[in-house]
Amino acid sequence: MNAPRAEFLDAEPLVRFSGVDKVYANGTLALKNLDLSVRPGEFVSLLGPSGCGKSTALRIVAALGHHSSGRVERPGEGADARGEIGFVFQEPHLMPWGTVFDNVYLPLKLLGKSRAAAKAEVMAVLEMVGLSGFADSYPRELSGGMRMRVSIARALVTRPRLLLMDEPFAALDEITRNKLSRDLLSIWQASGATIMFVTHSVYESVYLSSRIVVMAARPGRIIGELDIAEPYPRDEEFRLSPEYAAHCREVSALLARAMNEAA
């Protein structure tokens, strides 16, 4: 299944930042004049050094943070639009007192759906992340990678149009990370959601994204964008291909520029 770029260009953006500034109470300029559009179906990575405001931008999209000036358009503005956005944090942040089922059911419960009515949806999304057999397990009984899968399932259970991921795999070992990255791509294609993915790994972003936005720090700003016009599905072969290596070089060069400008 190829995801041609032209399709993205036609559609109305799902998220649009126009001249967004974010100033923290202590005076730090976290984001400066940010312009960014994300179209439906895209997999966009925000890549940059720490302190470049990539997580801040993501939190603004989710309304977990507020911008100081500029304009932000995002899904889920109306009262009935709860569940339009899913968020996966750097840590799984599960409820230790609930089973896997309880944890994935949580967003639907908060939206007022009964347990019986939600059962099919919860089981379907557990199947999607490969945890069908673990509905009755408690988080402490699972490995780090499986907990992250539960966290992803929780974010997907409302069938959000937009999935925000804030360095979700940063705390995992490389083998688990690669496996989850590959599975994330199939989840992305199966769910049809748009993904905004924050990372500081060049390799991860090239493997996953249809577009990479490179950011620089102090103040947080966009320094360049790169399309990764390689067809999906991408498998382990892609990681070894010369195209992959070329993209990594290109992105690394852009990132190096971001680091130099900040210094």
């Binding site: 709860r82 956005i85 968020f87 944090f89 942040h93 409820m95 007192w97 908060l110 402490r140």
Partner: protein, 282 residues
Amino acid sequence: MNLQITAPAAAPGTPRKLPRWLAPALDVATPVLGGLAFLLCWEIFVRAFEVSRFILPAPSAIFAKLVAEFPVLLKALLFTATITVSAFIAAVVSGIAVGVLITQHRLTEKLVWPYAVALQVTPMVAIAPLVVIWVGLDRVWLGLMVLAWIVAFFPMLSNTVVGMKSADHGLRNVFQLYRASRWQRFRHLQLPAALPYILAGARISSGLAVIGAVVAEFVAGSGAATGLAWVIVESGTMLDVARMFAALLMLSLFGLSIWFVMGHVQRLLLSRWHESEVSQEG
């Protein structure tokens, strides 16, 4: 060089693996046997040195006293137990209620907290005469209950407050993302997160309720209120040391049973999810 790695042979003195049924049996048998040995030494010591029964009666004499005076002692125990349990329940309910209320608004917490601390640090013995006057000398039991409640209240309150604030930050973000109501946040996030803290508080509180009831009786008790503490005071004035020991024994058995009940409740509620109740498989 040829490197060979072999499993080390069982070192001499390594304990062999115990059969499955033996471990819990040992948990009970070890302290019981230890206690019996201690009583035996005590008995021998008292007999060998002919210690006066006004100073240290032999365990056999204490046991004889316990049997002879059992109806009186049991009645006293029931009185003390009623005071303790009702004070404890009052402390649990009020501690959780006030703890939950003051964590809903920063302002109420600022308002209430210093006075809760003041109530805690003021010695109960010093308040006792006042409380007895307020409730009236014909209702000393109520005074004892109030005093035991004051002692048991604070751990419940402080643990509830800390527990309510202990909810995972990321989880709070999840609730915020789906625009959870204040009630949803309380019911599904703060209360479950606070549960281990509340249970730990209840365990401390239950022990303090026993202490509170006994000390209150020492201070405020009279012939009208005949709990175990009063039996001890009374026996002391009559130099009936064996009876003092018999009352003490009942008191500590009562305290122990409360402790075990609370431990059991804690295990029941937290068994599958909280680290404190999960044993690591080795």
